[in-house]
Symmetry: C2
Subunit: 261 residues, 2 copies
């Protein structure tokens, strides 16, 4: 099933994508829902961020080639994490597919993409075993963890570097029933593939992360976990670029880059 969140008469509404149509739903995938008889052509609807998460988790370093690339760039030794610690992003920065990524006026850059798998939690969960862990998942979507590398290095926290408004494109839709460890994520800039990797390469997989997290934090319906990216994240994004994060089964998250006026 392909869940979308769209704007209908000025309000956010959930729907299910079927072929070229969206079937509108009363309720949401995170609670009781029923299909309505109303259908809209997919080409006429504006997709919103598929969920506004109560808690917004992001795995920082979870692929070897990305860790090694980042270490080379900074002239330091590559260090693979010894346990699955998770970080945070913030909902202010979310934008849907089709929205602009706005580089702040005073950013010296580089501003880079990170194309990531996003796991959307569907059921409240605590103390999950690894075997149980995928049972709390509603489905998968994609994220672009846009990062301003000068601020990432220089600030004490990642607030501007990774949470500036529009820096967290997420979407296009949430797809149920897929194996999160069998995705192949590609990033394209202006149609040219600049990155491609398999989620099978995660250092700590989705089951391990969710089980460990749920030992200390309750996972809530609508929470999202972004799972990091592999390899380099170059070239930098420039105003005018169109950047896409794509997976064959999930779809394409597509955003244009502009500079703040």
């Amino acid at each position: 099933m392909r869940w979308c969140r769209i704007e209908v008469e000025g309000r956010p509404v959930y729907g299910q994508v079927e072929g070229d149509d969206v079937v509108l739903v009363n309720g949401s995938p995170f609670e009781v829902w029923t299909r309505t008889p109303r259908r809209l052509p997919l080409r006429d609807v504006r997709l919103l961020v598929p969920v506004v998460p109560p808690n917004f988790y992001a795995v920082g370093l979870n692929y070897r080639a990305h860790i090694e690339w980042a270490a080379r760039r900074h002239g330091i030794a590559a260090k693979v994490p010894s346990q699955p610690d998770v970080g945070y992003r913030s909902a202010n920065a979310l934008v849907p597919t089709g929205a602009d990524i706005v580089i702040p006026r005073d950013s010296g850059g580089p501003v880079e993409y990170e194309g990531e798998l996003v796991v959307v939690i569907g059921r409240r969960a605590k103390n999950l075993s690894e075997d149980e862990a995928l049972g709390c998942v509603l489905g998968l979507t994609l994220g672009n963890d846009v990062s301003e590398r000068t601020w990432q290095r220089g600030d004490r926290t990642l607030w501007r570097a990774k949470n500036a408004d529009t820096f967290k494109p997420m979407g296009p839709v949430i797809v149920t029933g897929l194996d999160p460890m069998a995705r192949r994520i590609a990033v394209r800039i202006n149609g040219r593939t600049v990155s491609e990797y398999d989620t099978a390469g995660m250092i700590f997989g989705v089951r391990r992360y969710l089980a460990t997290m749920s030992r200390y934090v309750t996972l809530w319906p609508g929470d999202v976990v972004w799972f990091g990216c592999d390899a380099a994240t170059e070239p930098a994004l420039e105003p005018g670029d169109v950047v896409e994060v794509a997976d064959e089964a999930i779809g394409v998250l597509k955003n244009r880059v502009v500079r703040e006026a």
Copy 2:
């Protein structure tokens, strides 16, 4: 005005505390609201967390004596931040006054309090000047930034150290019309005052922080910013302790400490 959020017939409802009563409100302080004729005795209601924030910001190092104390403890040089960078906490960890702080089973501790001023945003804001900054504030409440110091030192992020379930008591109510820079915050353990400081001692004040943040991130109604604490945060919290964070005008945030069963 003293805004509270309470449970009425199983649902969260906003109210205004007047003397010994709560006047129930339709709507919320973050949108259109109207008072209803319904009143409940304050002693009969259960206070909830006064807001579930869309974005949950926390200032890490914002008072000199706390920075110096932490540096001494770790045998490193005290370093005062050169600019107002902000960090994040997560809503899963919020509990209201009266709820238990639960120390996870495998925590080796110490688990410590940090009694903090919390600024609650009332109006959407971007690109505020310092002069305008307080115009987006609804009011003030209190927070206890409970911290597991072993995990804080050893993990790559603060997720367990500061965002374990129940580690973010916030409340008791949101009070409007107060000067955030003229608060005197006390922390008591089992009735004994263990910490007391003035918010006037902030390195970067509330105006400066909000103005800087709003340059890069949109502040949304319901967002909260926790402003850090001054001085030491000892002694550690032990199961059975009752910890209070108090300000004369805001009230008392009171929580018991237990260990996970």
